[in-house]
Amino acid sequence: MHTQIAYRLNLQLDSPGGPPMPSRHRSPDAALTALGHPRRRQMLSLVLDRERSSSELASRCKLSRPAASQHLKVLRETGLVTLRRDGNRRLYRAHTTRLAEIKEMLDAFWGERLARLAEELDPDDDDR
């Protein structure tokens, strides 16, 4: 038995023959793992339409500064948010292109899933 790898959002388990996530940061799975955390989703939703500073995000999400910066680091490394420095302020904003990519991937995933499910539910389907 070889080493098996799983992430909290276990979507990649559907392709066990695939490579074991070489570049974890930029992979869609890493982004999905990042989105698997409720606090990070909250942060992301706060910066969807405007830029906010790390301290503002920490206070709005009721997180300590170190905890907030850990989460922001994950969001940034997975490309979900962009960082801009203004003096000693760190300003974050959602990376909309990246989010669109993720959405496209999820749509494809669920589309395929739902199609398969429909097939299973309809045993009389002549097309099979």
């Binding site: 080493t3 909290r8 793992t33 850990q70």
Partner: protein, 158 residues
């Protein structure tokens, strides 16, 4: 609880030992209660590694696998600041069937320094609680957001 040199936790899971066992050897099941991601190779000498916080890893090796009643593994943190290097401590998990199709789980963590014991006792309390709820097919408490350092500070002041 902490008993002499060991951190010991005992609880009953609402699933049979076969299923409880999988919670420690199948990465997809492990990450439902422990870790953001996990790499597991459940055989003697095989890797046991999971990501506690982003970039923060617990790592060890499985020592023995006696499906479905016992697992022993070594345990540590890849971050040297934690003071518990991989391989430096040991976790012994026994799974015994109860009369009503449940499992009595006993976890003994030995080889930890006095300073690390409180943190691990706290960690096991929180994660085994998540294991219990997950095993019962209920939504576990949110995944902890504090870093181990923050938790350690909190424990030392409370």
């Amino acid at each position: 609880m902490i008993e002499k040199d060991a951190v010991i936790h005992e609880l009953v899971l609402p699933v049979a030992p076969e299923e409880a066992f999988e919670m420690f050897v199948d990465p997809a099941r492990l990450v439902r209660w422990l870790g953001l991601s996990a790499e597991l190779d459940p055989k003697p000498g095989g890797l046991f590694r999971f990501e506690v916080m982003p970039g923060q890893y617990c790592e060890g090796r499985y020592l023995s696998i006696e499906r479905p009643n016992r697992i022993t593994l070594t345990w540590g943190w890849t971050d040297p600041n934690m003071g518990v290097p991989p391989g430096s401590s040991r976790v012994d998990i026994t799974l015994t069937p109860t009369n009503d199709n449940g499992t009595r789980l006993r976890l003994t963590h030995t080889g930890l320094t006095a300073g690390a014991r409180a943190l691990h006792d706290d960690g096991w309390t929180r994660f085994l609680d998540r294991l219990t709820t997950t095993a019962g097919d209920r939504e576990p408490a949110p995944y902890p957001t504090e870093t181990p350092e923050e938790r350690r500070r909190w424990l030392s002041t409370s």
